[in-house]
């Protein structure tokens, strides 16, 4: 110490520089996937969780003693001109019972358009107990000019749903992704 230790400087500088590069990589490449992981573990209600995979039901027992109200909300995001609504505003289901609900969409324009629905579920304590076995949100919807479509969702409320959850709200926000997905 005391003398200017050029070797020591180089060593420290290299370490700190790699530390900084590492933190940049951490922010870019670790934080987003780690956030997805946290969302799925902690039931954070995030579009990153849109888990575009269908749930495979196994060993389903229907709990006839309980009824859970499932509500449907549809939202058009900015500049999305489609008509978009669910055919019912809510249904009552028994946990374990597969239920099918149909949503309606219509493209009123004279252009072919691509839509992507993003689901969101409240309350948060229900997120991991709400399983979609079939959903139009798993894929993009391509509608020709003036085309109408009925889009089904099949879901199962898990029997393990906490007892204090009596209402689950499933919302879909419909985004116009035509620009980013022109074939």
């Amino acid at each position: 110490m005391g003398k200017i230790d050029k070797q020591g400087d180089k060593y420290i500088v290299a370490k700190l520089f790699f530390g900084a590069v590492g933190m940049f990589a951490f922010a870019m490449f670790v934080m987003p996937p780690f956030y997805n992981l946290l969302c799925s573990v902690l039931d954070i209600n995030s579009p990153r969780l849109s888990n575009k995979k269908a749930y495979v039901a196994e060993d389903v027992k229907i709990d006839q003693t309980r009824l859970v109200k499932v509500q449907f909300v549809t939202i058009n995001s900015a500049n999305m001109p489609w008509e978009f609504r669910s055919q019912v505003t809510s249904v009552e289901v028994h946990p374990g019972e597969p239920t099918r609900v149909v949503f309606f969409a219509r493209n009123p324009t004279d252009k072919k358009m691509v839509g992507q629905a993003v689901p969101s579920i409240v309350p948060e304590s229900a997120v991991q107990f709400f399983h979609k076995t079939e959903c139009f949100c798993f894929t993009q919807q391509i509608l020709d000019a003036k085309q109408e479509i009925d889009m089904p969702v099949v879901f199962i409320v898990d029997q393990a749903l906490p007892a204090d959850v009596r209402t689950i709200t499933l919302s879909y926000t419909l985004f116009d992704v035509t620009a980013s997905k022109t074939p």
């Binding site: 933190m23 922010a27 902690l42």
Partner: protein
């Protein structure tokens, strides 16, 4: 080695001397302080009374955004880097910074970064208008075209900070005089060492955040856009993972300054030196695990809210230790009230006030009412302005005789202090009231029930702002025509190696390392 400074412009352009670079940092940060302050004056002038009088809402948003960015990245951070450049080598008995050429580079990046940032104000669509926190998608899909220049400016200033930090760490770890063990270092050096590690850890995260923004804007990725399976809330997590440690990056060197000055004017050693070091380290550690307390109303699961609330409350403990130690340092000392000491006493009072409102904000349920209201604005100005800016003023008065061998005018210094103190409190204390009464932040116009306190606040801001002109005048007058003050130890109670060299400090100090016992 005993040559003097180069002549003319090349002394500054190719500067490698830590004192020259320190001076440039200090002058640059003061210029940015004036620039950011003038943005604040525009904001307060518009808010002087209800109605839209002076500026349009979109320009108002650019003002709030640029005020925040310039003050945080242009004024406060570089001012402490300048102080570190000047003082750290002299405090640890080193001849210069460890990496003088990198030092030059990291300074000269800054003027370019801020030139780019300031020029966005004149671009089509205006400058950044999305707040200094630039939440997506307002800062991505809905941003003005100048956002790309903003991103570039953030990258450049981030690179500057990282290089500056590497330099400080290398200097502190490698260039200490014989006998200067880590636990003998002045507290200012300690707080900067820890701050430098924080900077290296989080400035790259900020760079990552703006890079993801850039990719979302120009390269069709969807990190933060829900349409493509991204999440706007992720942006806030990444931002505050940088942003919360950033708050401590700003305040820790201020703690260091206060810990130097209070013992001097109390003529009594700093109370609890080692607990101060540990408290600083604990604050730095805690800063990494509390970020989401900025996001209580974003829709987090209750478990997350509880965790972040409790972790945040814990910060009160090491921060409290620091305040208690400063008070204990003064207790049974022999206290005199020169300008630096006045600023430090005010620092303790006002920073503690900001700490109390911070404790209130940490309570998640109450935060549902405080969040994004003027209460938050009052809180962070109590810790940023009364914390960082007051301690910086104290530091300038304290070390100015060492830097230029001349004594500032005590009368003018004290006048500056009292005007600042009164102006500051008039500005920011009423903002607690309007915030609690329901006034959101970042609005250019408001209902009449908020009018009285906003007027008081604006008057206070003009007072506080004009007091800085007196400060500038006092500093320039000292440098040009101050009373010579050439004794090595300007203050009779001062301790440390910087007070063993002559005043003004020679261009090269400690070419032969001193022996520290």
């Amino acid at each position: 080695m005993a040559h003097g400074p180069a002549k003319g412009l090349s002394r500054w352009l190719f500067a490698t001397n830590h004192k020259d670079i320190g001076s440039m940092y200090l002058w640059f940060s003061f210029a940015m302080f004036i620039l950011g302050g003038s943005f604040a004056m525009v904001i307060r002038a518009e808010l002087f009374q209800p109605g839209l009088q002076l500026v349009r809402p979109e320009f108002f948003n650019q003002m709030t955004t640029m005020h925040g960015l310039v003050m945080v990245f242009g004024a406060i951070m570089p001012s402490f880097v300048g102080l570190a450049n000047w003082m750290i080598p002299m405090m640890i008995g080193a001849p210069d910074m460890a990496l003088p050429r990198m030092n030059n580079f990291s300074f000269w990046l800054l003027p370019f970064a801020f030139l780019i940032l300031a020029s966005t104000l004149f671009m089509a669509g205006g400058g950044p208008n999305f707040g200094w926190t630039f939440y997506a998608p307002l800062s991505t899909t809905y941003a003005p075209p100048s956002v790309t220049f903003f991103i570039f400016a953030v990258h450049v200033m981030g690179a500057s900070s990282i290089m500056g930090s590497i330099n400080i760490i290398a200097t502190v770890l490698n260039l200490r005089a014989p006998g200067m063990t880590l636990m003998k270092m002045p507290l200012f050096v300690w707080t900067w060492l820890i701050t430098a590690f924080l900077l290296i850890a989080v400035m790259p995260v900020l760079a990552g955040a703006v890079t993801m923004m850039l990719m979302d804007i120009h390269f069709g990725t969807s990190f933060f856009s829900a349409a493509g399976g991204g999440d706007p809330v992720l942006f806030q997590h990444v931002f505050w993972f940088f942003g919360h440690p950033e708050v401590y990056i700003i305040i820790l060197p201020a703690f260091g300054v206060v810990s130097q000055i209070i013992p001097t004017f109390s003529r009594k050693p700093l109370f609890g030196y080692s607990s101060m070091v540990y408290a600083t380290a604990s604050i730095a550690f805690l800063s990494f695990i509390v970020w989401a307390h900025h996001m209580y109303v974003v829709g987090m699961p209750i478990a997350g809210e509880m965790y972040f609330m409790i972790a945040t409350m814990l910060i009160a403990v090491p921060t409290g230790v620091k305040v208690f130690n400063w008070v204990a340092t003064m207790f049974r000392g022999s206290i005199s009230f020169e300008t630096p000491m006045l600023f430090c006493i005010a620092f303790i009072i006002l920073f503690t006030t900001g700490g109390f409102s911070g404790l209130m904000l940490s309570l998640a349920p109450s935060d549902f009412q405080y969040h994004d209201s003027y209460f938050v604005v009052a809180h962070f100005h109590y810790v940023m302005v009364a914390g960082a800016v007051f301690s910086m003023s104290a530091a300038v008065y304290y070390w100015l005789p060492k830097w230029c061998g001349r004594m500032y005018s005590e009368a003018m210094g004290k006048t500056h202090f009292w005007i600042s103190f009164i102006g500051f409190n008039l500005t920011f204390f009423p903002q607690h009231f309007v915030g609690l009464a329901g006034m959101p932040r970042r609005i250019p116009d408001y209902n009449l029930i908020f009018a009285d306190w906003n007027m008081v606040s604006s008057i206070g801001a003009f007072i506080y702002g004009s007091s800085q002109i007196l400060f500038l005048f006092n500093v320039i007058r000292t440098i040009v025509a101050g009373k010579p003050s050439t004794e090595a130890k300007t203050w009779d109670g001062a301790e440390g190696l910087e007070w063993t060299v002559p005043s003004p400090a020679p261009y090269h100090t400690f070419s032969v390392p001193p022996q520290v016992s």
